[in-house]
Structures are given as structure tokens and as C-alpha cells.
């Protein structure tokens, strides 16, 4: 019962009295080491060592996978069918549920007071987009439509009807827009694009397959007629049984109404501009032909 406390205490006294450490005193923790599998030893593990009796099996000469001794194998008897036809050219849209969006907003990873774009979603690590795997953007899925209660200006690449209704019911605005693969790569990772100092390209319009989707007001397409979108909003409200809140009287009205130019990739950055990250400057072209090209 000494008042002075020694570091280590009684254990150090015990260790000092133990015999010196030798190989005879050391042992690994139980379960740390497993014995290696040694084939062909012992009465029943030996002899043929688990390889069978003669033939292809013992001599490691089995035919290729799927071979059935000369009979037309199963995987060739079945006729061809276009299940995976054009698999490498089909656009894909990883889903974003309203539940996840609400979660991200609640955690502060996404700011609802600014327009929510794919860039914001990727910055907040909300979705993972792989343009190399033919991802053309994000689709809004209606899981969590009942608990969604955020007022947002959302821009996605595809959305289900119920998800659109859920966003608009809370006084938000949703738009579906198209990004071609190059623009998408720039959109999800803007800084690696700005670093080499290339001019921002203009966003291409959708091809003939996707054009009907983005010109349809029911999908809130960015190329659709604004009046038709207005009527579509009212029809959707009637269908799902809610009243559309009047956005014009909202404090965030200007933010909610903000929409990108169809040819722009970013808000406020025109195609043709060069962003200098090092000097924090934006360079704009002055040549007429260049301006005409980027203005078209």
C-alpha cells in the first residue's frame, strides 16, 4: 500500500521474476495458425491422394467446361435469343430514392436552398455514377415518396410519375434533362475537367430514341413546352389528390425557377469558356466564329 504509484504496478514485478524469453517459452495465439493441407499422406489420404482411379480424372486430362462427351452440350442445344442484344449500348440510370434524398438533405450533405444537380448529388456522395458503364445519369425512384418533405429544385435524368408528384406536392420543382456521355463526365467531376484548361463543350441534344422522352411534359422534360408542363402539374395533382402550392409566393421562388440552358452543362458557365483553376479566372472567347459555334 505505497502512496507512490509506479507505472505498470504489480505486473512489472511479476514480469521481472519470470524466466527469460526463449523459443521454448513462446507459442502463437490459439487459432492464429492453421496446419497446411498435405495431400497423399496417411492410410486413407494416401495412395491416390483423392484423385480417383486412372482415367482422365487422375491424369488431370478432363475435357473443357460444358463438354458432354460429344453430345451437343446444353449450352449449344438452346436456341439464340436477343436477351443481351445491344447490352453495351443501352443507357442505364442508377436509381436515387426519395428516401435517400431526404436522408442526404437531413444530414446536410445536400443543400436544398440551391438547385440540386447531379454535381451536387455526387459531391454529397449521394449516388455513384459510372459513365464508362453506359450510365447516362440518375433516375428518381418513388421509394420513400410518403416521407419526403423537402422543397427542392431538382434536376435528374429520369423520374417516375409518383416521384414527380411527391416533389411537386412539397412545393418543389423537378426537371428531367439529358447529358451526353462527355458532358456527363464533366458534370460529375468538374474539377478534373477544369484542371487541363479545356473549353467547356456545349451539351448535345438527345438522340431520336430519347428525344420523345425529353419533349414530353408528363416527364417534365427540359425540352417540353412550359405551358404543357403547367397543365401536367395540375393534372398530376388531381390524380394523386393534393393541391399544388403556389410557388410564386415563395421566398425561394427565384431559386426554384432557375433552370439550365439546354446547351449549358453548368449554371452560369457558358460553353466555350475556359476556367483557370490556378489563377481563379474565367477566360471567354472573343472570336466571332468561335462565339457563333458555341452560341448555336
Amino acid at each position: 500500500m505505497s502512496l507512490i504509484k509506479k507505472p505498470g504496478g504489480k505486473t512489472i514485478e511479476v514480469v521481472k521474476n519470470l524466466p527469460r524469453i526463449t523459443l521454448a517459452n513462446l507459442r502463437p495465439n490459439p487459432g492464429a495458425k492453421t496446419l497446411e493441407k498435405r495431400r497423399g499422406r496417411g492410410m486413407h489420404g494416401g495412395n491416390r491422394s483423392g484423385w480417383g482411379h486412372k482415367g482422365e480424372r487422375q491424369r488431370c486430362n478432363r475435357p473443357r467446361l460444358g463438354f458432354e462427351g460429344g453430345q451437343t452440350p446444353f449450352y449449344l442445344v438452346i436456341p439464340k435469343y436477343g436477351y443481351n442484344a445491344n447490352h453495351s449500348r443501352q443507357p442505364q440510370y442508377p436509381p436515387l430514392s426519395l428516401r435517400r434524398l431526404q436522408y442526404l438533405i437531413d444530414l446536410g450533405r445536400i443543400d436544398p436552398s440551391q438547385p440540386i444537380d447531379l454535381t451536387q448529388l455526387v459531391n454529397g456522395r449521394g449516388v455513384e455514377i459510372q459513365p464508362q458503364k453506359r450510365d447516362y445519369g440518375v433516375q428518381l425512384v418513388d421509394e420513400g415518396a410518403d416521407i419526403f418533405c423537402a422543397k427542392v429544385n431538382l434536376e435528374v435524368q429520369a423520374a417516375s410519375e409518383k416521384a414527380i408528384a411527391a416533389v411537386e406536392r412539397n412545393g418543389g420543382v423537378i426537371t428531367t434533362s439529358y447529358y451526353d456521355p462527355r458532358s456527363l463526365q464533366i458534370l460529375i467531376k468538374p474539377v478534373p475537367f477544369f484542371m487541363p484548361g479545356e473549353p467547356i463543350p456545349k451539351r448535345l441534344f438527345p438522340g431520336e430514341d430519347l428525344l420523345p422522352y425529353y419533349t414530353d411534359a408528363n416527364n417534365r422534360g427540359y425540352l417540353a413546352d412550359p405551358d404543357k408542363i403547367q397543365t401536367a402539374r395540375m393534372d398530376l395533382a388531381k390524380k394523386y389528390g393534393y393541391s399544388i402550392p403556389d410557388i410564386s409566393k415563395d421566398t425561394l421562388f427565384e431559386m426554384l425557377v432557375q433552370r439550365k440552358n439546354p446547351r449549358h452543362i453548368f449554371f452560369g458557365l457558358s460553353p466555350g469558356w475556359v476556367v483557370n483553376m490556378a489563377d481563379k479566372k474565367i477566360l471567354k472567347p472573343t472570336d466571332d466564329k468561335v462565339l457563333q459555334y458555341y452560341g448555336s
Partner: protein, 175 residues
Amino acid sequence: MAATLTRGLSGLLRPLSVFGRECLSPAVRLAQSPRFSTVLPNHAFRTLTPAHTTAPVQLTGLLSRVTPLMPSLLLQPVRNLTYFSLRKGKRKSVKSVTERFFRLHSGQWIRRKAGYKKKLWKKSAARRKRLREHVFCNKTQCKLLDKMTSPYWKRRNWYLNDPYQKYHDRTNLKL
């Protein structure tokens, strides 16, 4: 049968090439080595004709007999599974599997019935209906098909308006 044919024919041609080996120029030897190819360069024949007239005449006679069989002998399908590719060292998928089967993300594979387009006039309506159905593969077949395809075919795809979207996940499965 094709293999024995090639061996027999090569035996027929071999004495000809041995006979002419000392006198033949290297350009002609190169032209002769792909023995059953129809696409022999024209310039090789032109160099042949003024120097040696007897050997090419016999060769062309044999070639004309063999030509109708050639494409099937040459273009034998390769059905092996590549475990480690030459260039990248990766596992390769067997294309015949990808063209015929469809993998749902739950691990099940779907296929069509063999003969669903053939001789339908002699099949009853019930039989035709059964053949039109898309069918699951059994467990051993699924395991085989999984081994024959690379992980790319096992990834989850998010297509728009995918007819198989709702089948990728199992529901109410009690194990």
C-alpha cells in the same frame, strides 16, 4: 472426320512438296505452307509458272477437289473457356452462353425452349404454347453458366423500361 481428311490430304501433298523442295524458291514455299487456303497470293503463282510447270498443275487439281470442303475445315469453332487471357490475363466469357441465356441478378438464368421455331405445323397448340415460354435453368446449369461468364454479366443493370426489372430480385423466398 475433318481431322482425318486433313491428315490424309496432307499425306497426299507431302511427297509433292518434298519432291520439289530443293528446286522451289522460298516465296513459293511460303505460299504452299498454308496447304488448304483458297487465298493464295496471285504473284506466287505468277512466279511459279515460268520456272516449274508440272508441280503446280497437280497442286491446283487437288485444291479444286478440296475447295468445297475448305471453309468448314478451316473455320472450326473454338469452345474452350479462357481462364487467363493472353493480353490481359483475365477470364473470358463464352459468347455462345451470352447469346442464348439471360442472367437475373438473383442468380437464376433464363432460356428459351429448344425448337420453339421449328416445325410448328406438326405441333399441337398446347405444345407450341409450352415451347413459347421462357424457362428457368436448374441449379447445375446455373452454376455451369456462372462459370462460363465473367463478372460483367453478373452486375446489376438499371435500364429504363426494362421488361425484366421486377424479376431481378426474389420475393417471399423462405429458406
